[in-house]
Amino acid sequence: MAISASGKTKTSETELLRQFYKDMLLIRHFEEKAMAGFRAGKVGGYVHLYIGQEATGIGWLSQLRSDDMVIGAYRIHGLALQLGMDPKVAMAELFGRSTGCSQGKGGSMHLYDPKIGFYGGWGIVGGHTPLAVGLAFGAKYKQTDQIVLCFLGDGSVNAGVFAESMNMASLWDLPIIFIIENNQFAMGTRLEYHAADPELHKRAAGFAIPHERLDGMDVMQVRQDAERIIAYVREKQKPYLIEVMNYRFAGHGAADNTQSLYRSDEEVEEWKKRDPVTLLSKHLIGEGLAKQKDLDKWDAEALAIAEEAYAFADASPAPEEDEVYTHVYTDMMPEEGH
């Protein structure tokens, strides 16, 4: 897919930035459609949108090799799309349809496609961090030269298993980059109320892991940082930890309609000045890399793709009822019945 191939193929700088912009718009429109699906009662459960954080995912993933591995928590629609998951397939999963990537069994939090290097999609805060280290362990064991990007939230750093994961990643020199997306909030709890030291990258200090705090809103900067650090990790075959400062403009989940409990409109407005879409569009126009009408066209194209995904999902069948018993095991069925 063209949309997702950004950075995975060589392309001119201009093309790359234009592609970033298209990718960003696709994610944003996809998320808005997901929200619409939730409001319409077609998308259920917990749905966490990536709106505002797109530059982080796009910038980092753009520097990966096609066989590298990515894993995140539950705010992962953007990561899946950026790695090349068909938006139709992703949206169908949100709708709980048999055409979804996980055949409707996973939902919004549980998108997976190992073929494109995407390993989910996890609901237990921090629980995926050792899995990520396990993937890096596998890469080293098999000597594949792959690296792993493990995305986690600011709130997730407080899960003890993350500390265990850092220790073993470093003890065994595993090729993994932990990317803490510090979007300032763990659900409705502000950073300062959950972390003793708000500089979260310092959590790596006790494990001999190099660590930095970086920007996550300006995709051009993100991409440069990513390039540098990914090259370092691939060469040294050692872990790295990055704290990326970004912001979610969406609520915590689709059902979060009390954001005033944890942030002011002013704060949101302040951050919106650095909305990744705004920053990039200004750059593209300012540097003459695109015209407003290009931007508008790409916007319309991205919207169309998101709408198509929605329509596809909506038209897709629910799983057959007896699918409830499949995939419990690879080789046997569980005992049936209530």
């Binding site: 259920g44 069994k105 659900m187 709890t189 944890y262 629910a318 419990v328 019945g337 209530h338």
Partner: protein, 325 residues
């Protein structure tokens, strides 16, 4: 008597106990400034401030351990698990610490802690967020485990739990928070542990359940009554201690028993209840003790599959008909 929701009944109990005893405090993720994800603790942070209401990091093992340590010093923490599914992270602290401390210390230290939150399935929350763990806790000596099914019990049992000197696992249900019912205003109203309640009398079959399943059973009993079958519904309420007498009495009267629970069928606590009925009412039984429970599968996300996985009225009705022969 006031009519209030299950949610408000819980909150009322918390408020009364926090006001009454300065050693009572609550802690949990997003319970304070954010008012609690299911709003059980709404307003408490404003009312009692940081001194009694602690927003915690996402650190279930640590938070639970801290609460246990505080309880060892004589405080009475009430810990909210945002969902009981997350308590699995703290099982070492709950099962291998809290439950054993009074014993290991030869009675020197007690652990008056309450761990509460919604158990079981919500609506399409997927496999990792939809688990019924109360049976695992009810398997653990040293814990008390209760699962109120209505606002009255919610308040009365939470107050009992907070005043109990032992660790109590208090399982709520996302499907019950909005349920309304009468709740005594009396600040010294308690529902004791270890007393099951017959919520509908009947003579032909005993439907034995707890938490949300009690209401499903009640509706099934209603349906059965239209067929002229008189079903008795027993709300177990407290899994540990377990009031086997009330259960046995019911079965000795109806001669037929169906145990209903939401969690995975195999190895669930309903098996314990069924076994005990089998052991103690052998000669009274006209049919095998039956069970109706969740399918033995991780909870699927898709709405239709989730509905298949959870025991519904139709499933319970079919199981009851089978028992009735």
């Amino acid at each position: 008597m006031a009519v209030m929701t299950y949610r408000d009944a819980l909150r009322t109990a918390l408020i009364e106990e926090i006001e009454r005893d300065e050693n009572v405090f609550i802690m949990g993720e997003d319970i304070g400034r954010y008012q609690g994800t299911f709003r059980v603790t709404a307003g408490l942070f404003e009312q009692f401030k940081q001194a009694r209401v602690y927003d915690t990091p996402i650190s279930e093992p640590g938070v639970t351990g801290i609460a246990i340590g505080a309880a060892m010093m004589g405080l009475r923490p009430v810990v909210e698990m945002m969902t009981m599914s997350f308590s699995i992270l703290a099982m070492d602290q709950i099962i291998n610490h809290a439950a054993k401390i009074h014993y290991m210390t030869g009675g020197q230290i007690s652990v008056p802690i309450v761990i509460r939150g919604p158990g079981g399935a919500g609506k399409q929350l997927s496999a990792q967020h939809s688990q019924s763990l109360e049976g695992i806790y009810a398997h653990t000596p040293g814990l008390k485990v209760v699962c109120p099914s209505n606002p009255r019990d919610a308040k009365g049992m939470l107050k009992t739990a907070i005043r109990d000197d032992n660790p109590v696992i208090f399982t709520e249900s996302p499907g019950l928070y909005a349920m309304k019912g009468e709740v005594p205003d009396d600040e010294e109203f308690f529902v004791p542990f270890g007393e099951a309640q017959v919520v509908r009398e009947g003579t032909d079959i005993s439907l034995i359940a707890w938490s949300r399943m009690v209401h499903e059973c009640d509706k099934v009993a209603e349906t059965l009554s239209q067929d002229g079958v008189s079903a008795e519904v027993v709300d177990v309420r407290s899994l540990l201690p377990l009031d086997t007498e009330t259960i046995f009495q019911s079965v000795r009267k109806t001669h037929r028993a169906l145990v209903v629970y939401e969690g995975w069928r195999s190895g669930g606590f309903g098996a314990e209840i069924a076994s005990r009925i089998g052991e103690n009412c052998f000669d009274d039984l006209d049919a095998p003790v039956a069970r109706c429970a969740g399918l033995n599968v991780p909870m699927p996300y898709a709405a239709n599959l989730e509905q298949v996985a959870i025991p519904k009225q139709t499933d319970i009705l079919a199981a009851a008909r089978e028992v009735l022969g």
